[in-house]
């Protein structure tokens, strides 16, 4: 799209673009509707060879425009611009009680194919026909298997149906158009940003990446759903790592999010962020290695947000309460306290910002065409509900608009914006004093302050230990005797999740946002978590396993240039 210097004509240009997009989207929708109706009336019409008609069919087309530019050491390593249209065709055979998706056959319902980018209804419809055919064949075969499996196995613990009864939505928002990203200007910005690392010779690998992704979802189903749902996001990701003299690898990441690239943080803010990040790595590299510790700890808001997302959020996903392989940590805890009574937790994907900060987990409709809803998961410490897709569980029969997936995957209950609220708040300075008091009470020389935590992945299946994976990145010892705080490296948390959650003593009065990408069975999706700083009476930590590779032999070419002394 051309950038126009004149304001008036640029408005006109936008108007024409929008108009053409409108016709384009309607031709896509027309083709989807036409094929959906042909498929529903034709498939299994004669009921021969056990070919019963599908009881549910949906087409979810994703029109995606994305721009991705990456820089490293002051220069570009890649700049890509893509436009794609892909459709997820979901076919269900059987009935809502028992269908082809039962148990571990969930993926049998989904078939994903690319769709024409052009406004060619015939070509779009033929692509849909081919995918529907393929999908229907898979569904029939899987349904046969499901029926056999169910007959031979013992009765399942959770006898809920395979598909919920939820009302079909309709919504028609204006579809997105190709984002107007000034790639040249951004290339220069990213070069300048990544160039900052040249001044930090021990930050060995690093990159700065811009991702702009504007997409429109078109969802139609045999239940009558007709949803056109646009979504925009822009993100700058900074990643950097170093290696200590003893071989320990250390990394940190910083991200900036907004709805559009134009509203991302200023270059100045990003520069400051990168300098802080790089300086902290240089500092971490020289920090002493942690000792095993079992005592009080303070989590910053950002660290607490990651902690809640990983430790609590994943365990509140509906499907985790169903199935023999799942951990079912909280399945029988509805109505019971699982957190201190001063804490409440909601997941609210309808919020696009929190105190002015963009939230990555924002969406209007979920990936099953259900409207996003705020869900109060935990109220005053008591568990109320789970994050639900259209896969029912014993305690809940309906979706609450949290069925999410990446393109090509079957949606499951996932987090959007997880928001932790506290009624027992104190100023953060007071929280720090409380940490010191708590350490004294426990006869510890210090407490730990977790400033930054990276999310690992939550393991909730029965075979794996019920341990959460969070990787502390920046941890300080806060001494009781008034010595200055001391940065330590190599901290790793041990222990079980529930234990840590129940040991929260108090929270800060200011909440921080963590925006990230979350990976699980249904793929990688954008999420946010919002939480205040938290004081925990006891966290057990140990020294992380570390690499044995030596730091580089020669100084980097960047260091040479700036006259840095050799190691």
């Amino acid at each position: 799209m051309l950038r126009n210097p004149c304001l008036l004509s640029s408005a006109l240009l936008l108007a024409t673009v929008a108009a053409s997009a409108q016709t384009q989207s309607s031709s896509l929708l027309n083709a989807m509707n036409a094929e959906l109706s042909r498929a529903t009336s034709d498939l299994g019409k004669d009921a021969k060879d056990g070919q019963q008609p599908p009881y549910y069919l949906s087409y979810y087309a994703h029109e995606v425009y994305s721009v991705s530019i990456t820089a490293q050491q002051g220069a570009l390593i890649g700049s890509d611009n893509t436009h794609s249209r892909v459709v997820d065709v979901v076919v269900r055979v059987g009935d809502a009680k028992l269908d082809n998706t039962h148990g571990d056959h969930r993926t049998s319902a989904i078939t994903t194919v690319p769709l024409p980018l052009a406004d060619d209804e015939k070509a779009i419809q033929r692509s849909l026909w081919w995918a529907t055919n393929t999908g229907y064949g898979k569904a029939l075969q899987s349904y046969l298997q499901v029926k056999t499996d169910t007959e031979v196995r013992a009765k399942e613990e959770d006898t809920s149906p395979d598909f919920s009864t939820d009302s079909a939505q309709s919504a028609s928002a204006q579809p997105v158009v190709a984002p107007n990203v000034d790639r040249q200007a951004w290339s220069q910005r990213l070069r300048t940003l990544s160039n900052i690392f040249r001044a930090y010779p021990h930050v060995y690998s690093n990159f700065v990446m811009l991702n702009v992704r504007d997409e429109t979802g078109y969802f139609v189903s045999s239940e009558g759903a007709r949803v056109v749902d646009p979504h925009q996001s822009a993100r700058v990701v900074v990643f950097a790592s170093t290696r200590a003299a003893d071989g320990m690898d250390l990394f940190r990441a910083e991200t900036f999010e907004a709805k559009t690239d134009a509203t991302l943080a200023s270059q100045k803010e990003m520069e400051a962020g990168i300098k802080r990040l790089a300086a902290s790595l240089e500092e971490l590299r020289n920090a002493p290695v942690t000792e095993p510790f079992d005592g009080p700890a303070l989590l910053s808001g950002r660290a607490a947000a990651v902690f809640f997302h990983e430790v609590l959020g994943h365990r509140l996903e509906g499907q985790r309460q169903r199935g023999d392989e799942e951990g079912q940590t909280f399945t029988k805890d509805i109505g019971k306290p699982i957190l201190p009574s001063f804490l409440s937790v909601a997941d609210d994907p309808t919020l696009s910002t929190f105190d002015g900060t963009y939230l990555s987990g924002y969406y209007g409709y979920d990936d099953e065409g259900q409207r996003a809803q705020k869900v109060n998961l935990i109220q005053d410490g008591v568990l109320k509900t789970f994050l639900m897709s259209r896969l029912p569980i014993a305690s809940f029969a309906n979706s609450n608009g949290h069925g999410r997936a990446q393109i090509g995957r079957m949606p499951t209950g996932r987090q959007g914006n997880l928001i932790v609220t506290s009624t027992k708040t104190v100023p953060e300075s007071r929280l720090r004093a409380m940490l010191i008091d708590e350490a004294k009470k426990q006869n510890k020389p210090y407490g730990l302050y977790f400033e930054d935590i990276s999310s690992g992945f939550a393991v909730t299946t029965r075979n794996a230990p019920q341990a959460f994976q969070v990787i502390p990145l920046v941890v300080y010892r806060v001494y009781t005797d008034g010595r200055p705080d001391e940065l330590v490296r190599g901290v790793s948390i041990v222990g079980t999740p529930q234990a840590a959650l129940n040991r929260i003593l108090a929270t800060g009065d200011r909440r921080e946002v963590f925006n990230g990408e979350c990976g699980a069975e249904s793929g990688t999706i954008p999420v946010s978590a919002v939480a205040p700083a938290m004081l925990v009476s006891e966290i057990e930590t140990q020294r992380q396993q570390q690499g044995v590779a030596r730091p580089p032999i020669l100084p980097p070419p960047t260091a040479m240039k700036s006259g840095e002394v050799q190691q």
């Binding site: 893509t82 033929r126 040479m560």
Partner: protein, 553 residues
């Protein structure tokens, strides 16, 4: 010195002036310094040569820096509409460090070389940063591998059969940078049109409902390899290849899945031919698919003479023969010369005595056709040489890179590398020739006569082939009246190196050029061949369900 090597050198001297591109490549090291990428590589190489040493360990004796600069463009269409358009430009650094000596060094089965993504800007510091990071990792790995190898050597009785690394004369060759010059808009339209022909063209739209998939693509791929090493080699080589393809699928009434495709490739956009040629090629495929759908299925198993037309023959040589002539170092302690089916075939017969095989990457065209496998300098910086692999049916040489095998102490310029991968001996332009040839008509006549002699009802001709055992176009010829009929659902058996050695009765006078587009482009030129005894049988494949509901209009 082997006979092969002296012919190679003579061949190189004679061929070199004939190259148009050889004249373009500069052999001045000063020109290398003018290229910002090579300059950054040389600067960092110099620093590594001078300073790279871990205390208490040896300095490397050999360092190689390679940067693969790859720019790809691809557009895809389906059912008459554009589906995807994609462009990518990346640079990848590959650093190889060898510790030890030419005689015995760190190279072996373990991971060799180290990779980094490098900038596509010509920023010298950023380029050197990537080289520095890869060098550090490669050197540390080399030291570890060298120690491990010294230990491993003590555990085997048989000493290595050859040195670990050959000494070669440094080469300076700076070729001009090539850039893709595809008319994207025009080609996009051609593939859109091609994939929509099933419903738009009068000659085929009567059976539009049979066409299940109709897909097309246009691709250009340029790769520039920058290569410098601690011996003084400075190479820049740059090539572009193009390909347009069409493929369609249908099912026969019994559910058998059928596929036909058509493709053109070349070194210039003009090599792809005019729009009309592509259009007609696609129509031919669609008609062929329709015919195939109605063709009879291969029934009884057949053992007897089979004629492989040029396409099928060239593909068979590519699949069976090309990898067998590559000389790979055998594992430690082995007495073998090389690995693979020709490990002990040196100087023995591998083809009939009227056949000769030469790999000559220096030929850029053949009968006016572009050869994708052609190159001037290989991916270790050694000039490509013409290698007579087989003469009078006997195996006389192997394709070699810089890791020698017994009796072949030097590289003959056949080390070729895929993007980011290590270089290995591979074919460039493999030319299979016969000293006695027959016309296609005569071959068919002979085939039918053999059928008559053997009391067969039919004999078979494989026109095109998918894999070594998968004919795509197979005809059976009635021995009684020489009439031809297309057959579907057949599979070949017993097509192997033994068949090539003693089953070729005659060769055609119609050499076919088979180009493989890709990361390591190759060419096989081969005549049609008449085999004495091949098995043709019914393919073992699942007949899938026919579409559950008819396609839309």
């Amino acid at each position: 010195m082997s006979r092969a090597r002296s012919t190679l050198l003579a061949g190189l001297l004679m061929v070199a002036p004939a190259f148009s591109w050889a004249q373009q490549a500069s052999s001045s090291a000063a020109d290398g310094q003018k290229d910002p990428v090579l300059k950054a590589m040389l600067d960092e190489l110099d620093r590594s040569k001078q300073q790279l040493q871990l205390q208490g360990f040896e300095k490397p004796y050999f360092i190689e820096y390679r940067i693969d600069d790859v720019a790809e463009y691809e557009a895809n269409a389906g059912y008459g509409a554009l589906v995807r358009e994609h462009e990518l430009h990346r640079r990848i650094v590959r650093v190889t460090v060898r510790a030890g000596s030419y005689k015995m060094d760190s190279s072996g089965e373990r991971r060799e070389g180290s990779l980094q993504i490098a900038t596509v800007d010509d920023d010298p510091i950023a380029l050197r940063y990537a080289l520095w990071a890869a060098t550090d990792a490669a050197y540390k790995d080399a030291l570890g591998n060298y120690t491990a190898k010294q230990a491993a050597l003590k555990s085997v009785q048989t000493p290595p059969q050859a040195d670990d690394f050959s000494q070669e004369k440094p080469v300076v060759s700076i070729a001009p940078l090539a850039q893709a010059e595809l008319d994207r808009a025009a080609w996009k339209q051609r593939i859109i049109d091609a994939t929509g022909l099933y419903r738009s063209d009068d000659s085929v739209k009567s059976f539009a409902a049979e066409i299940e998939t109709s897909e097309g693509s246009i691709q250009s791929r340029s790769r520039t390899v920058y290569l410098v090493n601690s011996e003084g080699t400075i190479v820049r080589k740059s090539t572009v290849e193009y390909r347009a393809e069409f493929a369609a699928q249908a099912q026969a009434a019994d559910g058998m899945r059928l596929e036909r495709s058509y493709g053109v490739s070349g070194l210039t956009p003009a090599d792809l031919g005019p729009a009309e040629k592509f259009h007609n090629g696609v129509l031919h495929v669609l008609t062929g698919l329709h015919e195939l759908r109605n063709a009879p299925v291969m029934s009884d198993e057949y053992h007897g003479p089979v004629l492989f037309a040029g396409n099928a023959s060239a593909r068979t040589f590519d699949e069976l023969f090309a990898h067998a002539v590559a000389g790979h170092r055998p594992e430690l302690g082995s007495t073998a010369r090389t690995v693979g089916p020709f490990a002990s075939s040196y100087k023995t017969r591998v083809l009939p005595d009227f056949m000769k095989v030469v790999d000559d990457p220096g030929i850029a065209t053949f009968n006016g056709k572009p050869l994708l496998g052609a190159y001037q300098v290989d991916d270790e910086g050694v000039p490509a040489q013409s290698v007579t692999l087989v003469d009078d049916g006997k195996l006389l040489s192997y394709l070699t890179g810089r890791e020698p095998i017994r009796d072949f102490p030097s590289s003959n310029g056949h080390a070729r590398a895929a993007t980011a991968q290590p270089a290995n001996p591979q074919i460039g332009v493999l030319h299979v020739e016969a000293s006695e040839t027959s016309s296609e008509d005569d071959l068919v006549k002979r085939l039918v006569a053999m059928g008559k002699d053997q009391g067969l009802e039919f004999v078979y001709v494989v026109e095109t082939i998918g894999g070594a055992d998968r004919p795509r176009t197979l005809y059976r010829i009635k021995v009684a009246d020489a009439s031809r009929e297309l057959i579907r659902g057949a599979q070949l058996d017993d097509v192997d190196l033994r068949l090539l050695r003693s089953g070729i009765l005659a060769a055609g006078n119609d050499p076919y050029v088979f180009n493989t587009f890709g990361d390591i482009p190759t060419t096989v030129i081969a005549p049609s061949v008449l085999f004495d005894d091949v098995t043709v049988k019914r393919a073992e494949q699942r007949n899938e369900k026919l579409p559950y509901y008819p396609p839309p209009d």
